[in-house]
Symmetry: C2
Subunit: 408 residues, 2 copies
DNA sequence: TTAATTTGTTAATTGTTTTAACAAAAAGAA
DNA sequence: TTCTTTTTGTTAAAACAATTAACAAATTAA
């Protein structure tokens, strides 16, 4: 039961029904391809004539193409299969992280083209913009044609204003009130450039992934545990952004208000318990409150090393991971109580140790969730190899073509 | 950018556009009445002919009526004003609380008819059902006509399953897995009966209230502080319910996981810091961890008494309120970080002391919100006299007629 | 009294879904 | 082979709703 906003509604015009049905057809071709017109008519519970009209429109726009004919051993005329034309355009994804920046190119349905490339991130915003500019120009003018580029999606770990392209605060990069998009938009004015927070992008990557399972992804949460903790919340199939594009920051909901200091300035945030840095500090026995300097050896020691040690029999390492797992679960319980999602997806380096910690996570979740049902909310691991951030950046570019039209 | 759910979509039919525009017209008449067809055409940025057709349909259904003519000093034909026919039916609202149950009757646009009546709540579910049955029968058969009743909305402070009508757990009432709706639905099978949690109902009461201010209520949170803490979250004009209708339970997000024990079984929940009981316990210096019994005098002492004492110069009472205010603000900061709403509404007895505590609440919010913008999220007080729970119960019945049709 | 202006309706047009009929294509039965 | 049956996809016609244009009604100002 959604209330129509009397200050901001969308009237239905003569073409609205067609637009809606067109997007439904696109969605169905996307999830069921290769698929025939007759199949679509059955899936949509409508008549084949309607499907013919709508598909013809998509064929004319070259969004959809006809392919081989089916050859099942059944009577009757063989169906003509339809599939999305993935060659129409390409998308560029950019994932900016502290140490390196990653780039991926995909076709118009998000399938990777070539290899992922990466380069060290310039932490000076101006020099970064210059650096990225050159890389993009290479792709847009040498490797591909600029007119074929559907858009560029850029992921930054921090809070940002989507429209203006302003990075309000990206603590790990040290960027504050930096407009990273303006120079790019000026340089490549033919191409759409999108900006998104990494936690939100990861959530997008899941709902827009083409999957074969029957999972209902209309209400999900993605929790990305890394240097910081990023969270993206999807409700009713839509990423929630809030008034300032800052919705979903569960990383800074406290476990204990008097807990360890957090990068955000407050103390006891969930992030201050479960980020990789926090886990490592705990392993080395440093009191985070004191922000004691770490030795060089400690600085080069990563969470992956810790996991390796835990697997190698280092009981202190294992205990450290278990403690993090418990805190992870306690925080997830808060998210579950607040959002009650269908699934929770978890990404980040710690997922590599999931077999070691999943029991602790589950029991912590059950400890603080309000009902038994909530305690069994399915948790799914997203391995790094799936590149959720890059996939989310791609979705920023490619997904709008499949999204539901704004109506009422 | 909403993803169309390929397993659960709604195809647009020939009538979909009309249905959408019809609901927009209803919404606009509701918010702008009395209003002429020409006004509607301007508000909707469409032509008057379209409005005529749609309004004629509403007139035929007797949802809308024509009223007086305008008489501004302008040239041209006088407009015929349209208004919602509020006499078409009536709604019954029931608010079940520990001590008493309240009932209100409204017309079909939620305007109160007669006085609010109340009676002591029978805490035995069967006897309660019987009691409520008799009360409802009186209204439906003696005072009014059953066929005119649009529906009955019942509010229960606890977790519940909307569809089956099951009260899963209402700790203050002591109800667990009680089906309160089944007997009513059986008895009054002509009438729709709706069940809703009190926090969620309060949120509904705000978005569906007919207001004159220009507030954008598409993203709001209602926090109801009483015996427990109920929270309702509205995103994109729609109350979020989650997979098990338990979404929004921010009352059990911890401030400190090792904090005082909470009625839910966990410890350190926000509720355990700010509920009326928690505030009173703190005033009487009881250690909640010990669950010490209170004296008879203490048992009869209410939060209103505490506020009175604080106003009367009792500095310990004032300090107690200030402490609650601080905890209230710290928890609100978590909600703001997580949801980033346009407004936060607060109801409950403590709002009567708002002039005493609002400064502490605000500074605690600023202390833990991630950005300056978030720190200035407007907080609005809803006084008890506005009966948000009963108004929410009414909205359950009357609002669906104005809601956006499900599409795509 | 006439012109100007605004409201609301009606008729015609256009675009879209829906129904019904049909053509095309293939397998199976006679 | 030939005919029947079945399925796919298209086309023509019908039904319906938004849109456009024209017009009638009602009122004020000149």
């Amino acid at each position: 039961m959604r209330k129509i906003n009397p200050k901001n509604f969308t009237l239905a015009t003569r073409g609205t029904s067609r637009e809606i049905n067109r997007q439904i057809i696109l969605t169905l071709i996307r999830t069921h391809q290769p698929v025939s017109r007759a199949d679509l008519a059955r899936l949509m519970e409508t008549n084949r004539a309607n499907v013919t009209f709508l598909v013809n429109e998509l064929l004319e726009e070259d969004l959809v193409r006809e392919g081989a004919q089916g050859n099942e051993k059944v009577r009757g005329r063989k169906p003509t299969f339809l599939y999305l034309n993935s060659q129409k355009s390409y998308a560029i994804a950019v994932d900016v992280r502290v140490s390196r920046t990653y780039m991926m190119i995909t076709d118009s349905i998000g399938k990777q083209i070539g290899d992922i490339i990466s380069f060290p991130t310039e932490l000076d915003p101006n020099r970064f913009a210059h650096q990225l500019n050159i890389r993009l120009r290479n792709i847009l003018e040498k490797d591909f044609r600029m007119s074929d580029c559907q858009g560029i999606g850029i992921i930054v770990p921090g809070m940002l204003d989507q429209k203006s392209g302003l990075v309000i605060n990206a603590p790990t990069l040290g960027w504050k009130n930096v407009n990273i998009l303006a120079p790019l938009r000026k340089e490549f004015d033919e191409v759409d450039v999108y900006l998104e927070n990494s936690g939100k992008a990861c959530a997008l990557s899941q709902i827009w992934a083409t999957r074969t399972d029957n999972a209902d992804l209309s209400d999900i949460v993605f929790v990305s545990v890394s240097d910081g903790v990023g969270v993206g919340v999807v409700i009713n199939g839509e990423l929630i952004r809030g008034r300032h594009n800052t919705a979903g920051e569960f990383g800074h909901v406290p476990l204990s208000i008097d807990g360890p200091p957090c990068s955000c300035g407050a103390s006891g945030c969930w992030e201050a318990y479960i980020s990789n840095l926090s886990t490592l500090s705990r392993y080395f026995g440093k009191d985070q409150r004191q922000r004691q300097p770490r030795t060089l050896e400690e600085q080069n020691f990563t969470i992956e090393d810790l996991i390796m040690r835990a697997r190698g029999g280092d009981s202190k390492a294992l205990t450290t991971l278990h403690t993090t797992a418990r805190y992870l679960g306690l925080g997830l319980a808060s998210i579950i109580n607040a959002v009650d999602p269908n699934y929770i997806y978890i990404g980040g380096e710690i997922t590599e140790a999931w077999d070691l910690i999943n029991h602790e996570v589950s029991s912590a979740i059950k400890e603080r969730t309000l009902t038994k049902d909530l305690g069994t909310t399915p948790i799914r691991i997203v391995p790094a190899i799936e590149h959720p951030r890059l996939r989310g950046a791609v979705a920023l570019v490619t997904a709008p073509a499949f999204a539901a039209p704004k109506v009422a």
